[in-house]
């Protein structure tokens, strides 16, 4: 892995750890991760002692049939949900003993999200949506960075629009800008193009990958699209609660 000397604005700033440290620990790890769900009388096994290591800077594509547990896996990786057993490590730090408060802080600093259904805050403008995580972090250059990011996703002129005034593709671009704004070292994207038509979806994905590459962040991307998966550093397939190497 190499570093460029002059960084474009989108590239992680001073918080970026030195490259030699990055190599030391993986960005994300799942160790014997198990998730059971109670559904009435029966217990469903969604994830079956699953193991996963995602090194820094990798683009990992996860595919799998609907209902196979991809979203569940992402939620566990981000500490949004708690495993039945097993462990998730972020930068080598196990997160299962952390409280909701600490998990939130951890996400604030280290994890970004992109969702299938965008999940923009409806009563905030596009710009305010991007601004929010930055302000939450207390970033000094929040306003400038929000503008840059909106430019970057091609929505520089639409910052004052509310989500309801934007198309699906535009909303997802805002969501991308919001996810990358606080310079997270890792991003989790759950079928980000699932609600978009194929052309719009392709454009959004291109933007996503471009952002990931230029910021050297780690990206776990859940997708159905084989072409997209092809662009990934590593492809896995989730079925029967286990990960299989994919193509």
């Amino acid at each position: 892995m190499t570093t460029t000397v002059s960084r474009p604005s989108i590239v992680p700033g001073p918080r970026d750890p030195a490259p030699d440290q990055v190599a030391a620990t993986p960005a994300l790890e799942a160790i014997a991760l198990r998730r059971e769900l109670r559904s009435g009388e029966r217990t469903l096994l969604i994830l079956d002692d699953l193991d996963l290591v995602v090194p820094h800077g990798q683009l990992l594509a996860i595919r799998g049939p609907s209902g196979s547990g991809k979203s569940t896996l992402l939620a566990l990786l981000a500490g949004l949900d708690r495993p039945t057993s097993g462990s998730v490590r972020i930068d080598g730090e196990a997160i299962e003993h952390l409280g909701e408060d600490e998990l939130a802080r951890l996400r604030r600093r280290k994890v970004g999200f992109v969702f299938q259904s965008f999940h923009l805050l409806p009563n905030l403008t596009a710009r305010e949506n991007v601004l929010l995580p930055l302000e939450l972090q207390g970033a000094g250059d929040a306003r400038q960075r929000a503008s840059e990011l909106l430019d970057q996703v091609g929505l520089g002129e639409r910052g004052h629009h509310y989500p309801s005034q934007l198309s699906g593709g535009e909303q997802q671009r805002v969501a991308l800008a919001r996810a990358f704004a606080p310079r997270p070292r890792r991003l989790l994207a759950d079928e980000p193009t699932g609600n978009l038509d194929s052309r719009t979806g392709a454009a959004v994905l291109a933007t996503l990958i471009e952002l990931q590459r230029s910021s050297h962040s780690t990206l776990v991307l859940v997708t159905h699209d084989e072409q997209v998966a092809a662009a990934a550093d590593r492809r896995v397939f989730l079925a029967d609660g286990k990960l299989h190497e994919d193509g």
């Binding site: 918080r15 750890p17 030195a18 440290q21 990055v22 030391a24 620990t25 820094h56 979203s71 569940t72 992402l74 939620a75 981000a78 949004l80 949900d81 930068d91 080598g92 730090e93 909701e100 408060d101 939130a104 802080r105 951890l106 996400r107 604030r108 600093r109 280290k110 994890v111 970004g112 999200f113 969702f115 999940h119 923009l120 805050l121 409806p122 009563n123 905030l124 305010e128 929010l132 995580p133 302000e135 939450l136 972090q137 207390g138 919001r178 606080p182 070292r185 759950d190």
Partner: protein, 890 residues
Amino acid sequence: MSEANSRPADAPAATAEAPRARLRPSLAWRYTRWELRGSLGRVVYWVLCLAVGVSAVVSIAALASSLDGAIRREARSLLAADLAISSQADLGEELARAVAELPGGRSAELRETVGLVARSSRTPGEHGGARSLLAELRSIDGPYPFYGEVELEVLPRDGAAERVARTSAELPLAELFVPLGDGDERPGVLAASDLLNQLGLEIGDDLLVGRARTRIAGVLIAEPDRVPGLLSVGPAVLLGAEAFEQSGLGGFGNFSRRKTLIALEDSSTESIAAARQTLQAVIGDDPSYRVETYEDAQPLIREGLEDLEEFLGLVALLSLLVGGVGIAQGVRTWLSSRLDAIAVLKCIGMRPRELFALYLGQAVFLGLIGSVIGGVIGLLGVLLVPIILAGLVPPDAIRIWQPLAFLRGIVLGVGTATAFALPPLLSVLRVPPSRVFRRDAEPLPGSRALDALVLVALVVAVTALASWQAGSLRIGAFFFAGVALTVALIGLGNFALTRLAQRLATERRSFWLRQGLAAVGRPGGGTLGALTALGLGLLVLLTMALVQEHVQDELAADLPTDAPSAFLINIENEQWPEIARILEEGGASRIDSAPVVMARIASIDDRPADELAEEREARWAFRRELRLTYQRELPADNRVLRQADPDALWGDPRPEVSVEEEFAREIGVDVGSELTLQTGGETFDLVVSSIREVDWQTFGINFFLVVEPGVLEAVPQSRLAAARLPDGGEQRIQDAVAQQFPNVTVFRIRQLLDRVVGLMRQLSFGMRVLGSFTILAGLAILAGAVATSSAQRGRQVALLKTLGMARADVLRVFGTEYALVGAVAATVATLGSLVLAWFAITRGFEIEWTWRPLLLAGSFVGAVSLAVTVGLLASRRALRVPPVEILREN
């Protein structure tokens, strides 16, 4: 690699961020603004919930402080002097000298009593109405008033017929009181216009005041030291000392009071205090003389006001609490529309406690908006009080700007909003962030300790607010317990009824009813809060109405048939046979009379009254003249409990006295005690030979002390009579007595009770206005609950319309639902108020319970129609949703 370098990759960033990890106020404020965007409906709802209660609280506080302020401001004129000495008897030499010697002191003597005034038979013109009436007389000797002005109307000297307004400053009263001369020797008096109207008199006509024939010199409009409207027995008459002497009404056996008004040269606080001390030194601890300064400013009225303020303050707080229930409901619906946003915010790293603080901050902010608006309305609302309580509260007593009252409203409003918002806000903590992937993700486990803590906070907050309003922790705690119990019962009742509704809905009902029943029974329909609030409001109003109606009807009811309906006082003994004849011929029944002697207790068992006054319960009995009688047979409503001689009431050779049981206990005598009385300059040694019990409820003539005949016959005395006057013949008899025996005063009980009832009506109207605030708050909440669920309702409407339902049909479904909501609330409230009112009426007031079907049915129908009206109005938006909308929802 150093230790720092071996830490996880992002660690340095984390350290850098740590000091700023708290949610910054600027962001919180910004987010609050973002949240408020496009939620005008929510703001309006909060304002409605709070403004009603806050404005009630503020109005009450502002009114009380206005009146208190007015009393203090007008203190000097309310006393019309710097100091005053009130007494029964005249000042006495020593005290009179002390008054005269006060530096630069001037004084005026007022004497006050009630007596009959009458139209003279010589007055020309026809008059079909009353010829006599009971008036409040006030004689003035000296330069009254020292402060303030008497307002009056007189005929101008040029002989024009139009009255002109004057004040005592322009036209000294003493000038009005002197006879005109030139053959007209009638002293002048001022009489209230009521009196002139009732007796059909005009300025210049005769007015018989007791035995005095006077001339009406002018119309009395206002006196500075009389609070208008407060319970008075009749119109006021001002007259000079000489006319008063002539009337004979100031004499013996009348209830007359003296008031010596004093104005000082130097009326500074210090010199007034010094004067008071001088006078008090002369008076010693003789309680029959009371010195007050203008700074005491009507202490009785002010105390009464304070009590009233506390009571009304709690009623107002109740409507605020109803609003609180609405807030709790509102927060719940608000948050349920924010679950996704909250999950997203958690995802991007907002901590649960930050989110909680953020939403709590918004609740406080909204509470502040609602309270400020309510506070302003409340301050303005005080202007209405003189209109509602016309005659009781003068408009110029009102001061709108009452910062303390306003502040009280804000604190109570924000406090209520916060306390009631807290419990539902806890759900913010439990929103699962994984909701971003699955709508039905399970909520995070809650903390029982936190739940308990918030509940405790609610209890403490409400109790504290109530204690503040009531000015007493004990009353505050009782208030809280009462409200909590009531709310719990209402909630339980509502729950049971909605369950029942659900059950009924499944059976074979008409389509509309089934839809409506299902809607009421639907869990989380947002109606339970509205039901509780509406129920509480109705309960308060209905209970108040029930109690008031019972008490008023009791007072207005006919007197017991065997009770006298009038008392005649100040009869001279030799006048009695003729008066008795007038009564008999007028159709009066149950005529009874007794001699009245005024006497002081000089000693008991050789211990002087001064000493006894210190230790006995009834201090007053040793300090003033008592009315007593002598008779051979005790009245029928007396029962002897114990007597010295078992065979005869008056069996002892020594002079004897019979003492009423309770009075005997209070002055500390029993059979065998020796009681020495002083009257007409003589002393009489009596032995207590019996103790008796009196049934005061008969309204008969009764005295604490009854002396054996043959002892007091020679001392100055008058006669008291009682009779039941025939309906409609009362005025005729009174007129006849007034004409022939002007010294006699007739008290008609019915007339006096009617005045009490009138006053009560006015006050209770004010209270109902206040009580209806709770209903208003309840309706606001119903409207809010309907309006905030309008999106959901809109979808329901769209769906129903796609299913082929016409607008009118949808209207019917909704109408049925709201009618049922009203019916459930009214049922629970009616049951509750019946229980409460029954206890208050039969146990508290000891009045017989009667059913009020009209009131109950009226309130039920009222509640249902209000609920339907408000509900439908609030669902207007939802009703307009076109069916295509259903396709737009994903």
